[in-house]
């Protein structure tokens, strides 16, 4: 990247169940907050990147209709959608829009409105990932019980997660209690984040494990209390070129970014076989992280990263990805978790915002990771601001059937020194 680029504005809506607004209004809310945060006039936005997963909210290319709510008319707009990674991919698109030199200021928006679906958690939109495969399997005489086993995978992300958690626990030696710890940490952190959905102040491991409803194991080893909610919400960032970013008080400079795709987990198109036998391996995240760190000039992430925002709709994923982001030894992330290192006031806070476990508006989720990292660097995270000087922060997102990864690294100084 030959040009320095920075995040100069962040906007988030309250995430949760938002039945009092329509999608367009919700997107507009986040976009205008970001524009105001960056102290820009709407005319100064040169390009827009936006994304969500359209099957959940039931609108095809929603930005065509809702564009008028966030100032899109007359501007070049790219719609990006990559599953769970969507928000992160959108943020990266805006970064490239500016880094290319074609535009100076770009607006990136991620959103989702799950509650517009009449099924709980927009299950049909989610099942739709593998619905075609499922129809094919049924036509080939799949029996009911095996269909449930496949069905675990038909729900793409949610389904493979139980299997993935078992894999990780097997190779790392981590226990369900550790998953409870991640969940409790996330939910209590979320209570300090005004935009989060599930805010459970001072949530304890005991509460997660022994609650009559949340404590129940719904797909071994995952409890109901381990699973992310289906939220409504939108988040946005403003990305600007160096000349413009210099006038911001404390911009969050983009220091590195990468994305990577692995083979699908569990099955390929038409339920063909794949050669991934351990979905907790996550080689694409290793690759993306290595690329992003090298671009950022970070040689020792454990020492140099001050805060991490990891995409973790399921608790074991916080552990897996913190290892893959080279923040901890392979299979050992549960030890620093036990020791409280990843708490807001710990040595290396992970998901001080409460993460995806507490708030999951799919298209917005990975965008929020970037936005939260920017807030931590800008020192504007409010109650969940980590009590230390944040020099480098890493934002992560996973998508597809956990086979896509985006990694974005933000810092308090520009990447290239002039």
């Amino acid at each position: 990247m030959w040009r320095n680029v920075a995040v100069i504005g962040v906007g988030q809506t309250k995430h949760g169940i938002r039945r009092e607004v329509n999608v367009a209004e919700m997107i507009g809310e986040a976009a205008w907050k970001a524009i105001e945060d960056a102290e820009l006039a709407p005319e100064e936005i040169d390009a827009i990147a936006i994304g969500n997963m359209q099957g959940f909210g039931g609108i095809c290319q929603a930005e065509l209709w809702s564009g008028d709510w966030f100032g899109a008319p007359g501007k070049p707009l790219l719609r990006i959608a990559t599953g769970g990674t969507t928000g992160g991919s959108v943020a990266q698109c805006a970064i490239y829009q500016v880094a290319s030199g074609m535009f100076d200021v770009a607006l990136a928006i991620g959103f989702e409105k799950h509650s517009d679906s009449k099924e709980p958690g927009a299950t049909m939109g989610l099942a739709h990932v593998g619905l075609a495969n499922f129809f094919h399997l049924l036509a080939c005489g799949l029996d009911f019980k095996t269909s449930l086993a496949w069905g675990g995978g038909v729900g793409a992300a949610a389904g493979v997660s139980g299997y993935q958690a078992a894999n990780y626990m097997h190779r790392s030696g981590c226990k369900i209690e550790h998953l409870d710890m991640v969940a409790a940490k996330s939910r209590s952190n979320a209570a300090k984040n005004e935009y989060a959905h599930l805010q459970w102040p001072n949530c304890t491991v005991d509460y997660i494990a022994n609650h009559p409803r949340f404590g129940e194991i719904v797909a071994y080893p995952l409890r109901l209390g381990h699973i992310c909610p289906a939220s409504d919400g939108a988040s946005a960032i403003i990305v600007a070129a160096e000349e413009r970013a210099r006038s911001a008080e404390r911009p969050a400079w983009v220091r590195g970014l990468a994305s990577c795709a692995d083979e699908e987990n569990q099955m390929a198109e038409n339920a063909q076989g794949v050669a991934v036998t351990d979905s907790s391996e996550q080689i694409q995240c290793k690759i993306a992280a290595t690329k992003a760190y090298s671009m950022a000039g970070i040689k020792n992430p454990r020492e140099e990263i001050d805060v991490a925002e990891i995409y973790q709709p399921f608790p074991h994923q916080e552990l897996i990805y913190s290892e893959r982001l080279q923040l901890f030894d392979d299979g050992k992330a549960w030890i620093p978790l036990e020791e409280g290192e990843t708490q807001i006031d710990g040595r290396l806070p992970i998901d001080p915002s409460g993460g995806v476990l507490s708030t999951n508006a799919i298209g917005s989720s990975a965008m929020q990771r970037v936005a939260e990292c920017a807030l931590q660097i800008m020192g504007k995270a409010g109650q969940h601001q980590v009590p230390k000087d944040v020099k480098n922060a890493v934002a992560h997102g996973w998508g597809g059937s956990t086979n896509f990864t985006v990694v974005t690294i933000l810092g308090d100084t520009p990447r290239l020194r002039r």
Binding site: I17, K145, G152, Y163, Q164, Q266, A271, Q272, G273
Partner: protein, 166 residues
């Protein structure tokens, strides 16, 4: 954590007929099911990287080429990962509007053990059910064998599941 009063506006409805779509599948499953008829599992072998995909696949994305070599693989394998359902109870869930316990597809109180099995000589997981085992006994690395229907008819249900090798 009490429920808060929420502001709400009215809603307007719409439908997305996902069932009205039509898709295309390759003939690979025909080959797999032909094998099932003889209680054999067919995979495809990429002659570029040696990966054996089960069920067969016709593109190897690693070598970025088409695969047309098939391989017959063992029906003995290893559990690579698993998940376990909660106890199935009448009235607990509905799948496409049907209560599976009421319909007799599952027994009251049954816990389903769902496994990814890596059949020997393959690089893939095959998704199926672990039979004749208790939830507390299942573990990663468990050796299992395919359980076939006595009279296979060339359907996916011919491979009923897998069971532990004693």
């Amino acid at each position: 954590m009490a429920k808060k009063e929420r502001k709400e506006t009215i809603a307007v409805d719409g439908i997305w007929p996902v069932g009205s779509y039509s898709y295309k599948a390759p003939e690979l499953y025909k080959e797999l099911l032909e094998g099932f008829k003889q209680k054999r599992i067919i995979g495809s072998l990429c002659t570029g990287c040696g990966m054996v995909y089960v069920p067969p696949r016709n593109i190897c994305g690693r070598c970025w080429r088409k695969i047309d070599t098939r391989a017959s693989v063992s029906d003995v394998g290893t559990v690579r990962t698993f998940t376990i359902s909660p106890e199935m109870k009448r009235g607990r869930t509905k799948i496409l509007g049907v209560d599976p316990v009421e319909a007799g597809w599952l027994k009251e109180g049954e816990r389903l053990i769902m496994v990814y099995v890596n059949f020997d000589g393959t690089n893939s997981n095959y998704t199926t059910i672990l039979m004749n085992s208790k939830p507390e006994d299942v573990h990663i690395g468990m050796r299992v064998r395919a359980v076939w229907k006595e009279q296979p008819e060339g359907k996916l249900s011919d491979l009923v599941g897998v069971e532990p090798i004693k």
